[in-house]
Symmetry: C2
Subunit: 202 residues, 2 copies
DNA sequence: GCCACAATAGCACGACCGTTCGTTTTTGTC
DNA sequence: GACAAAAACGAACGGTCGTGCTATTGTGGC
């Protein structure tokens, strides 16, 4: 009986696309059902509640992100190359055609910041995991002596994330076609200072 | 007949608070009416449409922002002090008690990025004005010889904005009490590199 | 105190929301 | 092909949404 999980995937795929445009709150059972050609109640039965749907959409998004950005980077050499791969991989992420509204986590970050509940809690966990992935990659670069050994890797991750956020903002809100270029500039400055290690010391 | 504009202000004040938590889309006529003690239709009559309400909330927010952040900075000395004043002023902005959900423009940036229409158009104009205010302040610092003369002031504004976005993200989503400290670190690095001017050249 | 008019209330509308329930169709197994 | 389980459907629920109307209340100027 694999039919069920097939439609489930179809639903989640569509839901990820929609939530990338309208946010997790923009998801509606009825609208989603129309999009995938199901009845409202038929779709609803797969999840049991809207909150459960949101949680599953989030989980599916994370899985897709790991597949698209994290795993490829983990396949590259430890140290600076891996840090660069994470960055370059991310730049392509909000431009996938199956994410017509850009990175679904960016919208979620601002949607959920004042909405307590399980969805927010889970999301914060996911985000922390991502940030510690970035920090760990920077720590690897320190160990490989690509970055200065005084580097504060948490601060590195902080500024790394800052660049991604501004990139998304300029790309998707302002429709600035120099967004990638600007992001790469900022990133190179971060790398340069991280090598010099005078950067970001405590 | 000043009664009308009094209630208008009350409504807008409440609407700004709500939209800082739930976003511009989270505003609802009925909910807002309940909050300020009006009937739904009574409140509605002040604006004529929800879109008009959103536009007015946006405008009121911008006015408040200018009063709280931009004007004080323009009162300081041209050059690096003014750049620093803009930055420091902004750090306090999302912590005002009349903005319980943080900076209303941050949420709006991600809400509106895929919703074409007058609200988005107006918002993009406001954001561009802010970014050019930042760029102009950096240009002032170049002229005052506080920053290196090769500095790309647009890139400076880009990275300035990046820090603000990450600050808001760490502060409001992750509830990181080191957010301010981290932001200041990142800012000092930006300033330092802008003085060195090797920074962000084209 | 009257009058014009602004401000607010009350009510109804169609649409959509998440959710429940009972029924029907489809599916895989024997 | 029979049968049980899974999947999808259709209708209805109480709500809330934005938006129209018409009526009522309140206010300022004369």
């Amino acid at each position: 009986m694999a039919k069920g999980s097939d439609t489930r995937n179809t639903i989640l795929e569509q839901a990820m696309a929609t939530s990338s445009r309208l946010g997790l709150d923009g998801l509606s059972i009825g609208g989603l059902a129309r999009d995938v050609g199901l009845s409202k109640s038929g779709l609803f039965a797969h999840f049991g509640s809207k909150e459960e749907l949101q949680l599953e959409v989030l989980a599916a998004g994370v899985e897709k992100f790991i597949e698209a950005v994290v795993k490829p980077a983990l396949g590259t050499a430890r140290g600076e190359p891996r840090v660069r791969a994470l960055f370059a991989g991310w730049l392509g992420w909000p431009e996938r055609e199956d994410l017509p509204g850009g990175c679904p986590f960016m919208s979620a970050a601002y949607e959920l910041d004042d909405r307590p509940g399980p969805v927010r809690d889970q999301f914060v966990i996911y985000q922390s995991q991502w940030l510690s992935t970035v920090a760990r990659s920077a720590a690897g670069a320190v160990e490989e002596k690509h970055f200065g050994k005084g580097l504060d890797v948490e601060q590195f991750a902080w500024e790394f994330q800052a660049i991604l956020m501004a990139y998304h903002y300029y790309l998707r809100l302002l429709r600035d076609d120099q967004a990638r270029e600007r992001a790469e500039h900022a990133f190179e400055r971060l790398i340069r200072d991280s090598k010099a290690q005078a950067t970001v010391s405590s």
